[in-house]
Amino acid sequence: MSNYAYLIALVPLLSFVMIVFFLRWKEKLAAGWSIASILASWTMSLIVLIETLGRHGEPLEYFFYLTTFKGINFEIGILIDGLTAVMLMVVTTVASCVHIYSLGYMKDDPRFSRFFSYLSLFCFSMLGLVLANNFFMIFIFWELVGLTSYLLIGFWFEKKSAADAGKKAFITTRIGDLGFIVGLMMVGAYAGTFNYGGVFEKVASGQIPTAVLTVMAAFIFCGAIGKSAQFPLHVWLPDAMEGPTPVSALIHAATMVAAGVYLVARSMNLYVGAPEAAMIVAVIGLVTSFIAASIGLVQNDIKRILAYSTVSQLGYMIMALGLYGYDVGMDPHAHSAGFYAGTFHLMTHAFFKGLLFLGAGSVIHAVHTNDIQDMGGLLGKMKITSVTFILASLSIAGIFPLAGFWSKDEIVAATHGHPIFNIFTLIIAFMTAFYMFRLCFLTFFGKPRDQHRYEHAHESPRSMSWPLAFLGFLAVSAGWVGIPTLHGFSSFVFFGEPYHTSFHWDVMIISTIVAVAGIVLAYLIYYKKSISADMLAEKFRPIHTFLYNKWYFDELYSFVIINPILALGRFLWTFDARIVDGLVNGAAWLTIVWADIKWWFDKWIVDGAVNGAGWIVSQGSGLLRLIQNGAVQFYALFVLGGLLVLIAFKYEDVYVSLEWPWLSAIIIVALGLLSLVAKRTASREAAAETETEK
């Protein structure tokens, strides 16, 4: 099966094409087709996972050369090792649940089949990203997931905030991608290949100077900063919650945002070769994690809390990976849990965070609000949602024996030897437990704060609750593959040497105490109300405001970056309006003036000539017309005149002395005189006639 693994990505692509071209107006069929595709991908991923397990994570690579440019081979291919197999499984599992969940959640949406086509396109991109065997290909899919993310965040584009959020997400991640592409150019320039194996070989053999490697690794990390919403580009993810909730669950919690983590894990060789870059990664991960967790403490929007939680947990993973790169880079024989912890947490987090989002979607679906201050007491109304949500919260808080417990402990263990990281990791764990249970207590326990909404709340349809139950199962059990000393996950997904897990009793006990402390504090404040939340907020007013406004990051960015750019834009607009438009308008004005001159010339000279000719003819003919006055005697007079002229011709001297021109002139003058006479007689006649009539 593994050599046909590209089908895993291509089946959703086929679904996308089918829906877009043929099933646009057959909503049920479109959704069914999409779900069938992702389930097929899931099945194939499962087979690939089993086969890879059978090979103990030995990498397997299939590719062909697409083209060669300046000595660099561009390949299309797939690479399957433990990391890929696990990622495939995670993506297809969460995607399957989200597809089925969307059946219920997106019901009655006017763009139902379009939603499923986007989901399929996303699955194709994400699976392609995971399967890729070189940096060039990962970049293509990297951008594709960015595109689908944009499309899905702005899915309800009638809402201005959603359209804006889509743009914000796209542009913010694009800033990171700029760094990524610079990193890729360096890879191409210094390694001469994009293939993972080829690049890592060059790195391992020391053919790339360490300084270059550091810069290169840092630039590639820029991509991860953008995509995984790390500080300082984390601002887009909370806004991305404007998209439909299944999208938030799939893209902005479980899979796409994990792509950055995957990228760091995949290019771990670079970071091992450049420990300074790895340290940058770790520090950014920690800072992000801390900032996001602190903001999450005070938010009121259920999805935003989860979004900040996601940012925080991604920071965790990034930090663990960075620390691993640093430790191993400094000492090749170091025994660091970082790589294992980061990837393991990536997997468990995908499951329980996907579940949390789907649960939140279910709640929103029931009460039609995002504000947790308007909820409360939903436990009795929505049993499946509540139970799975609380399970996921326990999992993310790190309570034994749920999935989050095992992975979070490994992350804490990975900070071993770095006291600052260690302390902050524990603080973040405490905050995580606190805000998650603040959310739980406010949403599911206590008295309903909005009676009207509470009465309308109801359990979601089965298409929504079953995926919740399935993910709930995984949120509980996914961590068991990583129970220390069992050599499950750690001997499957590893870097270099398989990591030998062992029970860190001290870590387990401390982190459990921290988590329980967070939960108990939340319980006291928000359930027992023995400590007043308002009183606390009042006491720490400046900090509360600071956190509530998300550390003023959006304001800072709009002041430092957006406003200058807008000012520049306005300046350029002015330039455009004044100078460029001035030139254009000036040219137009000149043309008009020139046209006026020509118009004048045409009217007075050309038309004058034409009309003048006409006028002369008409006047002349008007004169001549008078000769023909119908009086026969008048004609006879002419005949007489003509006769006299002819007689005159008989005489030689007259004939000689009068040449043709003169003769004609005389004739014309004579005619004119005659006509004038005739005119006078005519008018006299007319006068006489009128007189006689009187």
Binding site: V632, Q633, L640
Partner: protein, 99 residues
């Protein structure tokens, strides 16, 4: 000979003047007769003094008298119709041959 020609010329001139200036159609017809007769005098005079062929001029003159009589008949018939149509025989009354 010259006297005949002078007479003819004067008659012709009077006839011409009459044709051109008379307003009465009857008068015009009479002037026409004058012109015919001027020509007749010419013909007869030339025949008498310079002709090689005898009687040719006289024959023509008699022909002209006959034709003039017929012509006068036709002309008077037209005048009669004109009178019926326009209730008058002044030339101004029927200058309809214009533009």
């Amino acid at each position: 000979m010259h006297h005949y020609l002078y007479l003819a010329a004067i008659l012709f001139a009077i006839g011409t003047f009459g044709v051109i200036t008379r307003r009465n159609v009857i008068g015009i017809l009479m002037s026409l007769e004058l012109m015919f007769n001027a020509v007749n005098i010419n013909l007869v005079a030339f025949n008498k003094f310079v002709a090689t062929e005898p009687l040719a001029g006289q024959l023509f003159a008699i022909f002209i008298v006959v034709v003039a009589a017929a012509e006068a008949t036709v002309g008077l018939a037209i005048v009669l119709l004109v009178y019926r149509n326009w209730r008058g025989i002044e030339t101004e009354n029927f200058s309809v041959m214009k533009w």
